[in-house]
């Protein structure tokens, strides 16, 4: 059955909570399946280490993704390298799949501006912190692809809270009107800081909001990486090469849960019950896929151990690289403000430089 021809509240599923097949397994070879598993493990391990770095004062505020690896990795795996990701601020795992080096993500949350610059050959937009503000960008980027006769698809990530913002609705409307090749991927993790999904909207589903804009909306079990892959692959294909009776855009609602806090500055025990967290933990995407892959004979203890070692090494290397980056030069405050620095800014920089020479950096840094 076409994934788009189903009720909005009938999520696409492939594996149940125990890793048993309950839907159509997407056509992925062994290496691709193991890749999804490995990338979820990478995202989970990265996340744990990042939270720990923050706790130790080695990093600033950080938004954890734990629980959301299935949606991030499943969706990003369905993209061609030439497609684009337009993230919010929590999609570290999706960005890694698409080629962003993890040390960039660490640098960003360590307050280092270089972390906000994706490498030139990685099609990922910079992190967008203001909620839903990136959704119009994704529609515009996809529109550019269409206007130029290219076939790149743009996947935009945002959360359940973002669907309350005007930017989301305006962007969806434009995507429909101009039939842009955009996949609007909603990571519905149930909580916008302390405000639950049902407080954001009376709509029965977020997927169903697509109805108002005239394109497809589909709900998927966001903690089932194979289901997410299948839905995203179908949405990307439709965006690139739509059948006559359908528009290119798709609103995907990936139903999932953030196991941890909104950010390391947040304490979720104030607003939600442990029971609820436990219920969702049983849907954890990682053991679920692992059980399926073990049952299929694709994974065994040796391969899992090898993946453990690989993931740990990659994250350790990324931390070392990020922490060995020196403090950015104060020149970096100024140098990217414009293509050419205006004389007034040169003067302000000169003022700062003169004062540093006279009083030393300690006078600024309170050291």
């Amino acid at each position: 059955m076409n994934v788009f021809d189903r009720a909005y509240d009938d999520p696409v599923r492939v594996l149940d909570e125990d890793g048993t097949v309950v839907g159509d397994v997407p056509d992925l070879d062994e290496a691709e399946l193991v890749g999804i598993y490995r990338d979820m493990r990478l995202a989970r391990h990265f996340d744990g280490r990042a939270v720990s770095l923050q706790r130790q004062g080695r990093m600033g505020t950080y938004p954890p993704l734990s629980g959301q690896e299935g949606a991030q990795v499943g969706s990003a795996t369905a993209l061609a390298e030439t497609d684009w990701i337009v993230p919010s601020y929590r999609e570290h795992g999706a960005a890694f799949v698409h080629g962003l080096p993890p040390e960039r993500t660490l640098l960003y949350w360590m307050g280092h501006g270089d972390g906000a610059r994706p490498p030139d050959d990685v099609n990922v937009f910079p992190i967008a912190v203001p909620i839903a503000s990136q959704v119009p960008h994704a529609v515009g980027a996809a529109w550019a692809s269409k206007l130029r006769g290219e076939d790149d698809v743009v996947v935009c990530y945002f959360g359940d809270g973002a669907t309350s913002e005007g930017d989301f609705h305006e962007a969806c409307n434009v995507a429909g009107v101009f039939d842009t090749p955009t996949v609007l991927f909603c990571n519905n993790n149930q909580w916008a800081i302390s405000v639950p999904r049902e407080r954001q909207t009376r709509s029965a589903t977020l997927a169903g909001k697509a109805e108002a804009y005239g394109f497809d909306g589909v709900q998927v079990d966001g903690m089932d990486p194979l289901a997410v892959y299948a839905v995203t692959e179908a949405a990307v294909e439709k965006a690139r090469d739509p059948p006559e009776d359908r528009l290119r855009p798709t609103l995907v609602e990936a139903v999932q849960y953030r196991f941890g806090a909104h950010t390391t500055a947040d304490d979720p025990t104030v607003y939600r019950d442990d029971d609820e967290v436990e219920r969702w933990r049983r849907k954890d995407p990682i053991p679920r896929l692992e059980r399926y892959l073990r049952d299929e004979g694709v994974l065994d203890d040796d391969r899992v151990d090898a993946i453990d070692a690989e993931v740990e090494e990659r994250v350790a290397d990324a931390i070392e690289a990020a922490e060995s980056a020196s403090r950015p030069e104060p020149r970096a405050l100024f140098e990217h403000a414009y293509a050419e620095l205006p004389p007034e800014l040169e003067a302000q920089y000169a003022e700062l430089t003169a004062l540093r020479e006279e009083r030393g950096d300690a006078a600024f840094l309170g050291e």
Partner: protein, 330 residues
């Protein structure tokens, strides 16, 4: 002597809201995470439990709706106190602020007034992510029809917040989050007001008048003490309201010193310092003995936190700037 409590600035916000919620059923607090969570900075802690979800309202994540609905409530005579979680997230609500909040009274020739107070934490120095550290008070000061209040002490915070909520006109109330918990002060337990539009003299001196507000008040006072040891005696004025400015106090301090420095963490171009310098030109030109110094953030996007200490005026930068004003010889 009446009862007092020893409060931090953010506790004074909470205490101020509590007093107004208790005194007036038309007061409603609304915003993201202000209810059950008690606010991301705990500025509304316990208010949801005491006053219920109809008066301390967790809204959907929609700043334009938060501000715009508050406009509608206020037009009907209520006194809404919307919160935007960080001032860097006010922009989806900006259309409502400038197109309606600031203009409803003028547009309707006084038929409708908007007794609403839009609160937001602002300012840098807390190693926060992007968009969590800006100081954009000049946007709002530029907008006729708004008052813009920025307290720097717990006592003023409670009193100015009450004055803002009771004011017949809309107020933008910016809270310097860097000093939310920096120090405590004795604050009367009962509600009281501190008048909007009046500056406070934080230090008396005859050599240079230094104008500042918000979180910059503390490093400015620190710089003033250092300079006092070098024989430069600063008068430090905490503006407390940046729109309308206390022109009388500003001009008076300048006339007594003939020299001025203005400190704010917002960028320099078209910032409040430019307005204050212009007032001094208009009102007290013949008293002027030195160029007026502006010690401000640079005209660049607020950096990620690894560089924010270079961006923000430190006590050292403030000290050097004041010295320029003090030592200038024509």
């Amino acid at each position: 002597m009446s009862d007092t409590q020893n409060l931090t600035l953010v506790q004074a916000v909470r205490d101020g809201l509590h007093g107004e919620l208790r005194a007036d059923d038309d007061v409603v607090v609304m915003g993201q995470d202000v209810g059950k969570n008690g606010g991301v900075f705990r500025a509304t802690e316990g208010l949801y439990d005491e006053f219920g979800g109809d008066r301390v309202v967790d809204t959907p994540l929609a700043e334009s709706a938060i501000v715009g609905c508050a406009v509608g409530m206020a037009a009907m005579g209520m006194r809404p106190v919307p919160e935007i979680q960080f001032s860097g997230f006010m922009y989806p609500g900006y259309d409502q602020i400038v197109s309606h909040m600031a203009r409803f009274r003028a547009r309707s020739r006084g038929r409708f007034t908007l007794p609403m107070t839009l609160r937001a934490p602002y300012g840098g120095g807390i190693r926060a992510p992007e968009h969590h550290s800006e100081s954009k008070e000049a946007f709002y000061a530029h907008e006729a029809g708004l008052k813009v209040v920025i307290p720097s002490t717990p006592y003023d915070t409670k009193g100015l917040l009450a004055a803002s909520i009771r004011d017949p006109d809309p107020v933008i109330f910016l809270e310097p989050k860097l000093i939310y918990r920096a120090f405590r002060e004795e604050v009367p337990a009962e509600p009281y007001t501190v008048p909007i539009g009046e500056a406070a003299t934080r230090r008396e001196g005859d050599d240079v008048a230094v104008f500042t507000y918000g979180a910059m008040t503390r490093p400015t006072l620190e710089a003033a003490e250092t300079l006092a040891e070098e024989g430069i005696d600063c008068e430090v004025l905490d503006l407390r309201t940046v729109s309308p400015l206390d022109r009388e106090a500003i001009v008076d301090a300048f006339e007594r010193t003939g020299r001025a420095a203005i400190v704010h963490e917002a960028p320099r171009t078209a910032g409040l310092a430019a307005e204050i310098a212009a007032i001094l030109q208009e009102e007290a030109l013949l008293y002027q003995e030195a160029p007026i110094e502006r010690i401000t953030g640079f005209d660049v996007p607020y950096p990620l936190y690894a560089l924010e200490d270079y961006y923000l005026p430190s006590a050292t930068r403030i000290e050097e700037g004041i010295k320029e004003a003090a030592e200038f010889e024509p």
